[in-house]
């Protein structure tokens, strides 16, 4: 009688289970999965930033001689850099936390790039000026009228640096260097004389103000000394978060968009009152732009248009096979909130590291053209 032969099935089962185990082992791989990029957007002041702001309140303003009994209570110490910022609607000021940025991953990459020549140029600058940009510089503020640098400039040789300029004291601790004839190094190695066009001022070895005109520089010093307008600075203390932050005038931002997105630029001009920027570079580079306007419906429409523009850019990048750009725009989003909205953009640090890799090896030429926006 024909007997059932189940043994074949058992042997087949053993073989199949073994093959299955091998396939699964090989297919899954035993390396831990790479961490998905997670971007931390600067959306509010963090505890350490509040502490930083507190530490920076070093300036105690003397009471005005004509102050009445209401001024009897002493004024709170304040941050001279914030005090130096322009005031009023339509003004721009962007603060770069140079010291914090220098110690961030992207800062290290940038320092690598700066030191490509082995730090020779940096050393020369340090010896010439007495200022070490990597150690002494704390903040750099870019305004419509010039620059404000804050830090420790006690070792700076301002007198030698600006010996060609006409200098004068401007209140206690402040000195203004107005344009005069300066020595210029010529391409053939010789020297010639020229006329400087910028005014520089120093304040208590803490601030270095560079302006287009002496008036602009003196305005800054007036604001620091409490002699200016009573309007609040364009950046409040509660907005000093991130490694870069500030307020950009709508006109400036529209001009930046104008070339590629003229309709969006026009819409921005029409709708937005101000644009506040915050950039976090502690790990990945994340930027938040807060755009405010008076007409809620128009602001929402603008947000939608911006969101759509980002989406189209991302889809285009995907279609073009530009994975890096598509990855950057993955993090882009618009978050409407009544009469304002937040536009968030991010660049993973790995993408920047990849782009700036050539800086680490000074002998190698750049691999590709610079990163696209």
């Amino acid at each position: 009688m024909k007997r059932r032969r189940g043994g074949i099935w058992l042997a087949l089962a053993v073989v199949l289970l073994a093959v299955g185990a091998w396939l699964m082992f090989t297919g899954q791989g035993d390396e831990p999965p790479p961490q998905a990029p997670k971007v931390d957007f600067p959306r509010r002041m963090r505890q350490e930033e509040w502490k930083r702001a507190e530490r920076r309140r070093t300036q105690v303003l003397a009471l005005a001689p004509d102050a009445g009994p209401t001024e009897a209570t002493p004024r709170r110490p304040r941050d001279p850099v914030l005090a130096a910022l322009p005031r009023g609607k339509g003004k721009s000021a962007v603060v770069i936390e140079a010291n914090a940025l220098r110690h961030s991953p992207i800062g290290e990459l940038l320092v690598d790039c700066l030191m490509r020549d082995g730090g020779k140029r940096m050393d020369a600058f340090r010896q010439f000026s007495g200022v070490d940009p990597l150690q002494d510089l704390d903040r750099l503020v870019i305004t419509d009228d010039g620059l404000i640098l804050s830090g420790n400039f006690g070792n700076a040789r301002f007198k030698e640096l600006f010996k060609e300029r006409v200098s004068s004291d401007y209140g206690p601790g402040a000195r203004v260097y107005e344009p005069g004839s300066i020595v210029v190094t010529l391409p053939d190695g010789g020297t010639g004389r020229g006329q400087g066009d910028e005014t520089v001022a120093t304040w208590n070895d803490q601030l270095l103000v560079v302006g287009d005109t002496p008036g602009a520089v003196k305005d800054v010093l007036d604001r620091v000394e409490g002699r200016g307008s009573d309007e609040p600075p364009v950046i409040s203390e509660g907005s000093t978060y991130g490694e870069m932050y500030g307020v950009v005038s709508v006109e400036q931002l529209a001009r930046m968009l104008g070339r590629d997105q003229p309709e969006l630029a026009d819409q921005l001009r029409e709708v937005a009152d101000s644009v506040e920027l915050h950039l976090d570079a502690r790990s990945d580079v994340a930027m938040v732009a807060e755009i405010r306007g008076s007409d809620e419906a128009k602001v929402t429409d603008l947000g939608k248009s911006l969101g759509a523009a980002l989406s189209v850019a991302r889809l285009k990048a995907q279609a073009d096979g530009n994975k890096d750009l598509a990855q950057l725009l993955d993090f882009a989003q618009v978050q409407p909130d009544g009469s304002e909205f937040k536009l968030e953009l991010a660049v993973p640090i790995d993408a920047i590291r990849e782009r700036l890799a050539f800086c680490r090896d000074a002998g190698q030429p750049p691999r590709e053209a610079g990163m696209q926006p």
């Binding site: 009688m1 024909k2 007997r3 059932r4």
Partner: protein
């Protein structure tokens, strides 16, 4: 040629963690001739269902050989020629009879034929219920559908386990008629039924299975035959003493006597003696047994 040929069939069911198994069949030898109507009878637990499962390849024998329709029941080609009705056929309640027949026909490798299926249902008395859901069928209707399923594809061997179970007396007559038609057509019938009268009426050969062994097997009349013993009934007023002298033994009933006669001459000699003593003969018949008696006596003798 034999439709079923079983030699030394043994089946022991073994259970996990138990050393001793349960011996259901203990060396069964049985031959079912082709074209015969064979009845398997025996008490509960005799091994009848195990035997049927063994000849269908549903259980694997522990020892012995089974040949069905000239081949092994493990061979699907052999099973394709067998129609089987299990003892408690489970039917899908949500299906219609035609859908069930259609599916079984496909599984049997037959080309489903709706008209033929309807004819089959008509034959078993289910024509009107053909499109009704099986869930609403009575027990008897389910048995009829089971029988129709077994008859699909005109099998050479019909193995029926309690085919008339749950069917009313009129229905049994119909089923019996169908089975007799199949036998006439040349189909071998292997029937297991606890209704011995059914077996007696349908089958020409019977085997008695008890305690895993075939105790008796043969043609029905051979099994039920009483040998040289006759039953004789005389008119009232007979002389018992004279009859006893002529070799007659009194039976239980009034005027009933039994006599041993090896042949017709001996029987007539005994009857002549009785008539000579004034006895008037009213009935004469062979003193045989019905199947129940055969079963009881056989199993009782074996115990």
């Amino acid at each position: 040629m034999s439709a079923i040929e079983v030699i030394g069939l043994q089946k022991t069911y073994r259970r996990a963690f138990r050393r001793a198994g349960n011996e259901a069949l203990r060396g069964v030898d049985l031959t079912v001739p082709e074209g015969s109507a064979f009845g398997l009878i025996g008490p509960n637990g005799a091994g009848k269902t195990t035997f049927i499962k063994a000849i269908l390849g549903i259980v694997q024998p522990t020892a012995g050989t089974v040949k069905v329709l000239g081949g092994s029941p493990e061979d699907p080609r052999i099973r394709a020629r067998i129609g089987y009705l299990p003892e408690r056929l489970h039917l899908p309640g949500a299906w219609t009879a035609t859908a069930f027949l259609h599916t079984v026909a496909k599984l049997k490798g037959l080309r489903p034929d709706g008209a033929a299926h309807l004819r089959l249902l008509e034959r078993v008395g289910l024509a009107e219920a053909a499109l009704r859901k099986i869930g609403g069928y009575s027990k008897g209707m389910r048995q009829r559908l089971g029988l129709a399923t077994a008859l699909l594809g005109a099998p050479s061997l019909l193995v029926l386990d309690e085919p008339t179970d749950g069917i009313d007396p009129m229905g049994r007559v119909e089923v019996r008629g169908i089975l007799q038609e199949e036998i006439r057509r040349g189909t071998t019938l292997f029937l297991n039924s606890h209704l011995l009268a059914e077996t007696e009426r349908v089958c020409d050969r019977v085997a008695i299975l008890a305690n895993g062994r075939v105790l008796r097997e043969g043609r029905l009349e051979e099994l039920s035959r009483g040998g040289a013993r006759w039953a004789v009934r005389f008119a009232p007023g007979v002389d018992s003493g004279a009859l006893a002298a002529a070799g007659f033994q009194a039976g239980g009933a009034d005027g009933l006597y039994h006599v041993e006669a090896a042949d017709a001459a001996a029987l007539n000699l005994a009857l002549d003696k009785a008539r000579a003593a004034g006895a008037l003969l009213v009935e004469l018949r062979r003193d045989g047994q019905d199947l129940e008696a055969v079963l009881t006596s056989t199993v009782g003798a074996a115990a």
